[in-house]
């Protein structure tokens, strides 16, 4: 397998006057309480993970959990206090200013919660901004920006000013701007949190559509667990700067690692999150009916069909080979059973 695009090795971010000295003294054993007593606040505590090419890692946590700080360490908007970060094999923390700017101009794009558009520039100029900063000719950058406008579906509004747009439209501009330089790595910091629920859903769908087309390597920050489940390839759940669990949505729902994670999963409608493959039996029994369902279906979509069957249902992969089976009782058990009783 090729090298991971983003690689973090025990990254720490500690705010405060003596942060570096204290981190050294702590010797890899950082306790938020002791640090706080000494006037330091722990933002990120020993974060290690990798994101491979084309993968979407969603970092989920409540406010103050350090998720935005982690993202800012990886985009080097703040310098990590300890640990190592590699972007496509380059040691991020050892880059000088010029190399860092180069990296941002060519490899990274970022979307912000409050959109962070430049109020004095039009939609088109905002999107062309990173290109012009890079030194691309005005005409070329405007043409490229126009493509981006079309990509996010804002054609006809390219000469509007940000204040004339709705929140959802403004965030489309933010997304277009972050994509203008065609970055490989895409950072999104709670991009949809400031939007109304309906618009949020629409933007999430739009975002999935874009990602299907673009296949970027993504770090997506959110405080919304449902959003994380909907979008993520893998989810990292953070609390007090520590990554509590990093796994696929299904594993997080089915096997929460800590009490904290379990609390989030409690209210989750599993049938909407889990796929057939997450709950099927690997072995195929002989007593199989005629119905076949794909292993990539979400349970909710096929539950009714399965429940009307008396026999076990065959599960197929994309090539229509039977790879497992599932019986109606298992569906009932997944949807209704075992939540509170499992305590």
């Amino acid at each position: 397998m090729s090298e991971p695009v983003i690689k973090c090795q025990s990254v720490y971010k500690i705010f405060g006057a003596n942060a570096e000295r204290m981190l050294k003294e702590a010797n890899g054993n950082v306790d938020a309480k002791t640090f706080q007593d000494n006037g330091c606040i722990v933002g990120v505590n020993n974060a290690s993970f990798e994101v491979s090419k084309g993968e979407m890692l969603v970092v989920m946590g409540l406010s103050g959990s350090g998720k935005s700080t982690l993202l800012r360490c990886i985009s080097r908007l703040t310098d990590a206090t300890g640990g190592k970060i590699f972007i496509e094999g380059q040691d991020l923390l050892n880059l000088n200013n010029k190399e860092l700017i180069d990296l941002r101009r060519n490899k990274m794009g970022m979307v912000f919660q409050s959109f962070a558009l430049l109020p004095h520039k039009t939609v088109l100029e905002n999107i062309a901004f990173p290109l012009q900063i890079k030194g691309i000719k005005t005409e070329d950058s405007i043409n490229k920006a126009m493509d981006m406008v079309k990509l996010v579906g804002l054609d006809g509004r390219e000469n509007y000013f940000p204040r004339e747009l709705s929140g959802g439209q403004q965030q489309r501009v933010g997304i277009a701007r972050s994509l203008a330089v065609e970055p490989d790595i895409w950072f999104l910091d709670e991009p949809f949190s400031a939007l109304d629920p309906l618009i949020r859903k629409e933007m999430q769908d739009e975002f999935l559509r874009l990602q299907e087309k673009l296949q970027k390597t993504i770090m997506f920050i959110t405080h919304d667990f449902d959003e994380a489940l909907k979008l993520a390839d893998r989810i990292a759940i953070m609390k007090d700067g520590i990554i509590e669990q990093l796994d696929t949505p299904a594993n997080i729902v089915l096997k929460p690692a800590t009490e904290y994670v379990r609390k989030f999963t409690e209210e989750v409608p599993r049938e909407k999150v889990l796929l057939i493959q997450d709950v099927m039996d690997e072995k195929t029994s002989s007593d199989i009916g005629d119905l076949k369902v794909s292993k990539d279906e979400i349970i909710e979509n096929v539950a009714e069909k399965i429940l009307t069957q008396e026999k076990t249902v065959a599960v197929t992969d994309s090539k229509n080979n039977v790879v497992g089976s599932i019986n109606p009782a298992k569906i009932i058990n997944t949807v209704f059973g075992g939540r509170k009783n499992n305590n």
Binding site: N97, M110, F112, S114, H120, I133
Partner: protein
Amino acid sequence: MEILKKYPKLFQWLFLLVVFFALCFAIDVPETYKFIRGQAEFIKDPNQSAFVFLGKEVRYYAFDVFWRLPPLLGWLPIWINDSLFFLMNDWMPMEFWNEDTQEYKTRPLVLQITRNLTAFMTFLIELIREILLGGLETIVAFTSWDWIDANPWAELPGLPWTIVAAGSAILAYKLGGKGLAIYALLSMTYISIFGQWKPSMQTLSFILVAAPLSFIFGLGLGVAAFKSKRVEKALYPILLVMQTMPQYAVLVPALVLFGVGDHAAVIITMIVAVPPMILLTLLGLRAVPPEVIEAGRMSGCNNWQLMSKVLIPTARRDILIGVNQVIMVCFSMAVISAFIGAKGLGFNLLLALNQLNIGLALEAGLCISLIAILLDKMSLAWANKQVDYFGNLNFFQRNKNSLFFGVVLITGILLAYFGSIYFKDGYNYLFEVPHNKGISTAGFWNKGVDWIFDTFFVYIKAFNTWLIVDVLQPMRALYLRMPAIATLVLVVGAGYLIGGIRSALVVCGLTLFIALSPWWDRALVTTYMATFGVLVSCAIGFTVGTLCFQNKHSRKFMLNVCDIFQTFPSFVYLIPVMMLFGITDTSVLIAVIVYATIPATRYTIEGLRSVPAGLHDAATMSGVTKFQRLFKIEFPLAFPHMMLGLNQTIVFALFMVIIGAFIGTEDLGQYILKALSDKNGAGIGLTLGICVAFIGLIFDNLIRTWVDKRKKHLGID
């Protein structure tokens, strides 16, 4: 006892007042005490005491220390003066190449620097002046007199007034649309027809140099302060003092450093105009959301791009309000710096006021106000203007304003040329209307003044006498009756009760500086006049503001009126009051009241407006009447903001009291004015200025501390 526990603050204040009055009654007025008129401190008198400090002899009338503190800081002005002279004339002599004599000459470093600086300023002013009015000094500066003699064609006349007027209209149209363009055209035409063209253009050229320079320096220092905490800390105290320092007081030391003339005026104007620009730049940059900065960084901006393409454009509104402030200060200074020989409308205004020719003064004042309003509106329009998008316009559409100006330029020159044929023997009115050939309304206004005097003399006189005899003199006597120690106790006590030990120490230091200077009595008179002005201004401003707030249209109207009044250079306020009340304290006080009512009204309205709409609705739904809502909800919540208005009112009042010295008052301002014509006045002027600034700062500190506490208490920010 229970009441005491319930309102501890109230009783602390009462206790302070009791101590204050007890001290006042306990300490008798010494028999030898009298208010010293004239500069008696510097006249030798056998009754005076004297001490020597740093080789400077300070003479003073000694009193009981409880009554008046001895002027232990009396050496300071003399010392400042000597230091300045030493710096200018003896410090670090160096060899400098002299262009004129073609040889090296020994000159002190500071003198050389200031001379070069003034030469540069003179060059800039001359350059613009020659474009507007004609002349050839700039060309000579680049070539030589011989060259000019050989090439007479190079001697260009100034732009005809028609071009300047039409050009400003085009610019106004581009920035602010039709209304502003019409205003620009009308006011420029007015200035020309009424024969004020030359002084107006002189003033304009002064402002066109001073304002951009102040802007550049203010922006630069603001950015530096934003980037470095250390720079900010170093700048902060200077900014604070400069905000309350009367503009007059800066004139005198600058006179020593930079001499007399327009160039010195430009430098002084910069000293006064740069601080607000710095503050507003800093404010604007601070208000840029962190995510916008991060977005800039993630777009790959380097530091320079981040500042020039992200931070400054995003903070643009605050920065342009700073530009607006700069322009206002420049106009104010355009008049005041006439004292040190700046040419233009300000000079004419002062001259006319001196000769009590109210009509002429009014004309000059009107012109300067017209230009001030024009530039003010233009800069505000610029601030609020959004950049047009030019992508899909053709060449003609994109450059229509420049093209139109080209047409105007040619037409104007042709007109002036035909004019020179048509008005062969007389003046070319299509080129420039000379000063004495314009229509003058001075006679009319003077007659009007006479008429007012003839008709209402009895009433005005009666009002005047009543005010002076029954209100002002008793009040002044009361202020002077305060023993120094009692005042000190009162001020420091108030500082302690409001802001704790820190505030107490700050105001104690500030008050002691004034008390130990030779001008405590004068400072009391300044304070009394300012207090009177502030009380009346606040009463008026508060009432008017509250009434106007009740209706959306009247609110907007009032804020506009405030805007326009604030645009007038401070000196202009003296004209109408002198018209009505002649040369009396009443005139000064009325001017103070009018001037200081502006911030009082504005902040009342803005304070009331800052009350959250949700609270307003909540109160209405609780079934309160309009009055209950006003008194139970709106006033308490708007009060902190209104107190900031009080702060501004005090600063405005102090400024005007000091300017009032021009009419003749017996306060610190009188001495500042005197110092202007004194060879050794620099030290005195500066120390006096600091005294006035400190009076302002004492109130500023107390009010700000109180407001901050109150805001925290109410949980508003």
